[in-house]
């Protein structure tokens, strides 16, 4: 039986087998192809037998992996041959060599159709098989009706009808319209009465496909399906030929019986057959969402499976456990098998380890996160490269989501980097930097850990980066520990840095940095600001989760991730419902901050503020909740280094409301906040020039008022603390957290405020230089048993230190020209400006203490303003501002700002820009004067039940 029956073909195959190397084989193949090509060119002398032989040779060569780019037409033309042997070869080789998009196929559609509707059964079979295997859309449109006819024809034998069924399935997949549902569902029901199991098998495949697209339409077939199942399950009426190792054509059987009765037996094939049925039954149980009893039975069975010797069953046991996790509430039962699943992570078979990893990932929650993640870390030591990236990503995600405490999270990530640095993507270490930056408590710990790792002789590049970052920012917190003086830290980091690969040429890199440092050193006072600690990062969607979603994962896993992220939307760690702006962290390079101008946007507190109260996720609540409190304490001075202000029009509006409204109360700790919307509205109510916040708890009420007086770069403020209760406020503490550009001095605060009394605390402010950062008052007291702590933003904003000045053209123009120096005069086209008529822009400018000088610019669409800025470094400095508007498009304008100090120019420009991008909702009719009148107490309708409130901008 070893010979092909075609001598030429056998000889050729032997020749190929006798080739000693690839080169010989290629020569032999090329020779043969050349021969075939010549023979095909002169088709006249070619007998059908020879044609057939050549076509087989072509297929053989093609299978060997060589390109066969000719002879397709000859192959296809064999389909039209009059005799069976050639026709057969034509059909079969065509369906192997060509795919459905090949143009030659179009040529034979007619021949194929004639074979299908013709009387020759063997030709029908050949045609149906080829169309079933490679039929495309065109075949679908022209042949579907004929194929349907064959399928339901009573005169056709089963061999034709079963092929017709699968052929129709292919055509239906290519174009679902070819099956007209109305008429077809009854036909389908009839087809299910089929006694021939071969036909029924094929019909069933077709049926499943039809039903999965439109289950409703085939509802009438349901009883028949059940009957077929019953027949199979009870082994009734099944011809001997259709049993497989004694199991009747096993479709689905009665669930209970299968679940109880299936056991691992010795015969592998029988085993496979019965288990294949079992897993279908399991799928059905999951689909039906059966009662808990049966679910736990299933899990118990799977639990047995994952411990057996047969690797297929172990694999499928793990996989089906993962599937069960998705659809049903069986996590707790599955957790009982955790030890065995962890053992599977050490299975010699990578396929099984993958399933175990998927399952562990899916079943992880706060209760077992520590154990699972630590196992994953251990496994990382031995895991093959193919799995490491997925493994580290999953470990990082679990650590982030279910961390019982943040220091553990830091430990895990640092271990990850240490063990598998190559596989730890940048996203992972950015994330840890974010957490550390946003959690003060964590900073000393993280810095100490980073320091420990630096003692290792060999470090991964990523570890050097993350350690350098952490020690750069928080190294000072370790100053008193041995080996942690700034000098020592520098030495050790400097020692490791050469191992880090720079993205560009080292020379250029050094030059660039040198220039940057030099520029930086010339910034004078601004240097301190640049070197200040990194501000907190805004909460964003975890880049890791996103990545995991994007990654190529199987469907089950994808839905697992989806499920997880749904559970997580309300947690503070992974805030998914915020617009993910600039997904990653700006800290990709610790030198970046040199280049980034600081621009303070108070948006973050606003944003958190609008978030609904943090809900406690059911199963993993406790630790997450703790974090969310930490995360959500409203903080001002958020420097957003990556987001242009325009990216958040909404928060811009809030910002303006804060500044122009006399009083803004905002951003209480989100965890307790109950009425955010009303809270926002209070922002907008204009209440003269007073500043006042009323903090009300159910039981206590405190008023905080403010009066301010400004002169040049000095400000004299008085804080009023009014206790409206009948009990005293105890352990009163007030603390000013000044941004680096302000020097503040708060007089001592009395420890107690007696009932129904008011205390006044003077506060001195000195402006050192221009900045849009805002000072924060950290105020706390004890009332009864409860400790109240609030952070209030003080209305010490940039324009407090501006004094409008009117210049004549003779004074203005020389100055304007003199400032034609880069960075001193800065021009920017501002887009997304709220369209305003020019007079309104003028009054906005006046409210910002910029004196509009009419007549300086001849163009009526332009506007020029002057002001004097006061600070300790700049003293009185003249600032000139010009905007040019476009009457055609009021949403953009060109803004030019000039002053004698580049830092001031930049800050003032940004400050004005912030106000232009959206207009204040409360357009103060009369610009307030710098010196505020006294007297606080006109109560703002404070709607808070919570004492967390913020006090802000006051013009």
């Amino acid at each position: 039986m070893a010979l092909s029956g075609m001598r030429g073909l056998s000889v050729f195959i032997s020749d190929i087998r006798n080739c000693h190397n690839k080169e010989q084989e290629r020569l032999r193949v090329d020779k043969e192809l050349g021969n075939i090509r010549t023979r095909f060119k002169n088709e006249k002398g070619l007998s059908p037998y020879e044609k057939k032989k050549y076509v087989w040779k072509m297929l053989y060569i093609y299978m060997l992996g060589y390109d066969v780019d000719f002879g397709h037409m000859e192959t296809v033309s064999l389909i039209s041959a009059p005799k069976y042997p050639e026709k057969q070869v034509g059909y079969i080789v065509t369906s192997c060599l060509l795919n459905e998009n090949n143009d030659f196929l179009r040529m034979v559609i007619n021949t194929v159709r004639n074979d299908i509707i013709g009387r020759n059964e063997t030709y029908q079979c050949l045609a149906l098989t080829m169309v079933g295997n490679i039929g495309g859309k065109e075949f679908s449109e022209s042949l579907a009706p004929d194929v349907q006819k064959l399928l339901i024809s009573s005169s056709c034998r089963p061999v034709v009808r079963k092929k017709a069924a699968l052929c129709l399935l292919r055509l239906y997949r290519k174009n679902p319209d070819v099956v007209n549902i109305d008429g077809w569902s009854d036909r389908m029901a009839q087809l299910l009465d089929e006694r021939d199991l071969g036909v029924l098998t094929s019909v069933m495949s077709l049926f499943v496909s039809l039903v999965s697209n439109n289950a409703e339409a085939y509802w009438n077939c349901l009883p028949k399906c059940v009957r077929i199942l019953e027949r199979m399950a009870r082994n009734q009426d099944i011809p001997q030929e259709y049993t497989y190792y004694g199991i009747p054509s096993p479709w689905l059987q009665v669930l209970q019986r299968i679940l109880m009765g299936t056991d691992v037996v010795k015969n592998v094939n029988k085993n496979n057959a019965s288990h294949a049925v079992l897993f279908e039954a399991l799928a059905l149980v999951m689909h039906l969402d059966a009662e808990k009893e049966m679910m736990s039975q299933c899990v118990a069975l799977l639990g047995k499976f994952i411990a057996v010797r047969e690797p297929n069953i172990r694999y499928l046991g793990l996989e089906n456990m993962s599937r069960m996790l998705l659809v049903t509430d069986v996590q707790d039962i599955i957790k009982r098998h955790q030890a065995q699943i962890i053992t599977s992570l050490k299975d010699p078979d990578i396929s099984i380890r993958r399933r175990a990893l998927d399952l562990l990932y899916g079943m992880c929650d706060v209760t077992n996160a520590k154990e699972i993640v630590e196992e994953l870390l251990q496994y990382l030591n031995t895991a093959e490269f193919a799995m490491r990236e997925e493994l580290s990503l999953k470990a990082a995600i679990l650590a982030e989501k279910f961390a019982p405490d943040l220091s553990w999270y830091v430990d895990v990530i640092l271990q990850l980097i240490d063990k598998a640095g190559d596989f730890v993507s940048d996203d992972i270490w950015y994330r840890v930097v974010q957490f550390v930056t946003n959690n003060e408590d964590l900073q000393p710990y993280a810095a100490a850990k980073a320091r420990e790792y630096l003692d290792k002789p060999a470090l991964h590049e990523t570890m050097v980066k993350v350690s350098a970052y952490l020690l750069g920012e928080y190294g000072h917190l370790l100053a008193r520990r041995p080996g942690c003086s700034p000098k020592e830290l520098f030495a050790i980091i400097n020692d490791k840095l050469p191992t880090v690969s720079y993205e560009s040429y080292i020379d250029v890199e050094i030059q660039q940095r040198a220039v940057e440092y030099f520029e930086l050193s010339r910034k004078g006072a601004a240097l301190a600001d640049v070197l200040a600690e990194m501000p907190k990062f805004p909460e964003r969607e975890s880049a890791l989760l996103k990545k995991a979603e994007d990654a190529e994962v199987d469907t089950a896993e994808q839905s697992a991730i989806k499920l997880r992220s749904q559970q997580q939307t309300s947690s503070a760690i992974v805030v998914a419902d915020q617009p993910p702006v600039n997904g990653s962290v700006p800290a990709s390079n610790h030198l970046t901050l040199v280049k980034m101008p600081s621009q303070n946007i108070t948006e973050e507190s606003n944003v958190t503020y609008e978030e609904p109260p943090v809900e406690i996720p059911k199963e993993n609540g406790a630790p997450v909740e703790v974090e969310s409190k930490v995360e959500n304490i409203p903080e001002t001075n958020i420097e957003s280094k990556v987001e242009p202000p325009a990216a958040h029009p909404a928060s811009q509006a809030d910002l303006l409301a804060d500044l122009l409204g006399p009083l803004a109360i905002e951003g209480p700790p989100a965890a307790v906040e109950q009425n955010p919307v009303q809270g926002l509205e209070t922002n907008q109510s204009p209440v003269g020039d007073l500043a006042l916040a009323t903090l009300e708890d159910q039981s206590n009420s405190v008023q905080i008022g403010l009066k301010a007086e400004w002169r040049a770069h000095h400000g004299r403020l008085v804080l009023f603390l009014g206790n409206k209760n009948t009990a005293p406020l105890l352990s009163v503490q007030a603390l000013i957290l000044p941004p680096s550009h302000l020097k503040t001095e708060l007089s001592s605060v009395p420890d107690t405020v007696p009932p129904r009394a008011q205390v006044q605390i003077p506060l001195e402010v000195v402006n050192l230089r221009a900045s849009r950062d805002v000072a924060v008052l950290d105020f706390s007291y004890t009332f009864g048993t409860s400790l109240v702590n609030v952070k209030l933003r003080l209305p010490v904003v940039l324009n407090k230190f501006l004094q409008p000045i009117t210049l004549s053209p003779e004074e203005f123009f020389p100055q304007w020209k003199a400032l034609n120096v880069q960075n001193l005069k800065v021009q920017e086209v501002v887009k997304g400006v709220k369209p305003l008529p020019l007079p309104e822009i003028a009054s906005l400018f006046m409210s910002l203490h910029l004196a509009v000088a009419p007549g300086l610019d001849n163009n009526l669409n332009n506007l020029v303003a002057c002001t004097t800025f006061f600070s300790e470094t700049t003293r009185a400095m003249l600032c000139l501002v010009r905007i040019e508007t476009d009457p055609q498009d009021r949403t953009q304008l060109r803004l030019t700002v000039a002053s004698g100090d580049q830092y001031l120019t930049f800050e003032l420009k940004e400050y004005i820009k912030e106000h232009l991008i959206d207009i204040p909702r409360v357009q103060a009719a009369s610009p307030p004067v710098p010196v505020q009148p006294q007297l606080p107490p006109a109560a703002v309708p404070a709607t808070y039940n919570d004492p967390g409130a913020m006090l802000a901008g006051l013009l």
Partner: protein, 190 residues
């Protein structure tokens, strides 16, 4: 090709004699492609049920062979591959691989492979790799009777064998007819 004959099914624990087989059929198990690869990585049969372009096909073959050939004997019969699952089984020196969706029934696919091998075995009588090399076209004929559109078409081995025998007879008959025709012509033109 003589004496090196190694039966594909010899490794099987079970004798298949007298036990007609029937792999079960369940949900829409669309098999995306079938590959037969020798232990040396030589391709013995390829069948694509999805329209893969030529280049893609070579890439797939390379990837799947590397994946499958490197696996040890005691491992399970499933490998993940680009979100799909390759179900494979080794018979003597040949690996039979079928690619399915991750959600499909792996064991069922394994049964289809075994079903196919059993038919080959009966047709060739103790099939070995050499049979499939020199008669690769027969393997294609048989596969086309087992699968269409990536779906199981016939689970009755005898039915498949009967059809293949009929086809062989048709070819033989045509051959005889041709040769007798040739004889007639030869004699007439003598």
């Amino acid at each position: 090709m003589h004496g090196k004959k190694k039966n594909l099914l010899s490794a099987e624990i079970v004798s298949t004699a007298g036990e007609p087989s029937k792999p079960e059929l369940t949900s829409a198990t669309a098999i995306h492609f079938v590959l037969l690869i020798s232990r040396q990585g030589k391709v013995r049969l390829t069948k694509w049920y999805n329209p893969y372009p030529q280049k893609e096909r070579s890439k797939v073959i390379k990837e799947v062979s590397t994946l499958v050939l490197t696996r040890g004997p005691k491992m399970c019969n499933f490998v993940d591959w680009h979100g799909y699952r390759v179900v494979y089984k080794r018979y003597a020196s040949l690996y039979f691989c079928m690619c399915i969706d991750a959600a499909d029934n792996e064991l069922e696919t394994l049964q289809i492979i075994h079903h196919f091998v059993e038919i080959l075995d009966r047709y060739f009588g103790n099939v070995c790799e050499l049979d499939l090399i020199f008669n690769f076209h027969k393997a294609y004929f048989i596969l086309d009777e087992v699968l269409i559109a990536g779906e199981l078409q016939e689970s009755n081995k005898k039915a498949v064998l009967r059809l293949i025998t009929t086809q062989d007879n048709l070819v033989e008959a045509a051959k005889e007819e041709a040769s007798s025709l040739r004889n007639i012509i030869a004699q007439a033109t003598k």
